[in-house]
Point group: C2
Chain length 108, copies 2
Amino acid sequence: MERFVEPSLLLLLRERPMHGYELIERLPEVAGRDTRVDVGNLYRILRALEEDGIVTSEWSADLPGPAKRTYELTDSGRRLLDRWAEALRTAQDVISGFLQRYEAGEGR
Amino acid sequence: MERFVEPSLLLLLRERPMHGYELIERLPEVAGRDTRVDVGNLYRILRALEEDGIVTSEWSADLPGPAKRTYELTDSGRRLLDRWAEALRTAQDVISGFLQRYEAGEGR
DNA sequence: TCTTACATATGTTTTTGACTTATAGACCCG
DNA sequence: CGGGTCTATAAGTCAAAAACATATGTAAGA
């Protein structure tokens, strides 16, 4: 349930552009309260997404504080998110089928 | 969604003991119609489960056809399945939360 | 000023998953 | 009765992903 990170990032970025650290902080909102992503890997994921044209990024020199790289979702990224949503709906169906079958045989 | 294989195996084995090849055939029933597990990996998973005391196995010389190894769920395996079910219920909640948030922002 | 928090990033290792190959007995067909 | 195909289990290899560790610089606060 850790590859749930990618769709979560896309969802957050659709709402508005933000930088990496903020994504890490907000991730639990959407991916589950106790989802702790490895920070180092997150930046790697973001750069991979950028390489694939899912997000774009640029340094925001204007903002106060340390240098931040702000990420923004591309159109291609929006389409990918749509595909994720569809896949997750399917996953929901599979899980609920599993749980029904599980409950049917409980006490065995 | 491929680590869904383990709980599926446990669920199938709770219903009745069976051998590896049969598990592969029945897996789509519970893990989704188009879940094709890599055969080689499945046997590795099974042996790993046995090493952890989740399943036991023995050669069934009696059955017709080629040598089959029949797997059976242990009590510890049943408890693990229960924990899986709980985890999957949580996962369902997370996914449905995700989808709600997704739909709330659709058309952005 | 010294510590802590913010922010981004790289290096290494371990684990997992995908793809490939190997084996052996049983069954079917000509 | 010989050869191909199906059932069944298993090991080997390789690439991708995740976990774990470390590094760097800015800024805020005590």
